[in-house]
Amino acid sequence: MDPEPHKHSVDDLPVLAPALRIINQLETEGIIKKPTIGGSIALGFHGQMLLTDDLDVFCYFEGQGLIQTTAPILERLNELGYATTELGASIEGVEVHLGQGHGIVTEALEHALQIEVEGVPFHVFDFEYALAVKAEAGRSKDWLHIASTLEAAEPDEKKLFAILEKHGLLKAWKRKLDDE
């Protein structure tokens, strides 16, 4: 029992801000560029929040286009005292997975939205790209999250279908979602 228990309101306890500040520090140090929230948290930004254990962050590797390896990032996070895994690191209480990219992710990064999360400036995939990148991941969990998100928010269908078509995902999208 605390000698003087301090009464915290949940509103005084930022969930992501401390982790996002550290990630922004990596950008300031020139290790990464334009860190951007993707994955289920990005879907939660645009629709209803769904259960997930990790924060997916995609970024460019400064000066070399899209990151090919997360090794320099993980090395720096280790130096800063954060426990790392192959996928990412536990940063200020949040499991962060660093997403390595390719075509569709590059485009998603280009179109990312500037936002503020608990007072910290950051980026998030726009809705249609967040859905398309999830569709490309293609696990059962991804489709489940896509279906749940579409029950709560409506993407720009024309824009979404154009992205899916361009990346060869439209057939899978229709097969997985239109039959339900």
Binding site: H8, V15, G44, L51, E95, E118
Partner: protein, 73 residues
């Protein structure tokens, strides 16, 4: 018979609720996510399954605050 009359109302109410949740602030949704992770861990523990820890699980003050706060509507 009765369920035929009620069911569309429930479906419509659920859809309305989901849209309302979607329109909440991202900061509030993040708090809801940690709560969801806590519930998930409790459910997993109760059924004897391996449980993933919620974010900030080592921050006892924070966990206490989440547990004692009233559920957000």
């Amino acid at each position: 018979m009765m369920s035929d009359e009620i069911s569309p109302k429930i479906i419509s109410a659920k859809a309305k609720f989901r849209k309302k949740r979607a329109n909440e602030s991202f900061d509030k949704k993040l708090v809801d996510l940690v709560r969801l992770q806590m519930v998930n861990q409790s459910m997993a523990k109760a059924s004897g399954k391996p449980a993933k820890r919620p974010w900030h699980a080592d921050d006892e003050q924070r966990m206490r605050a989440y547990r004692s706060a009233k559920p957000q509507s």
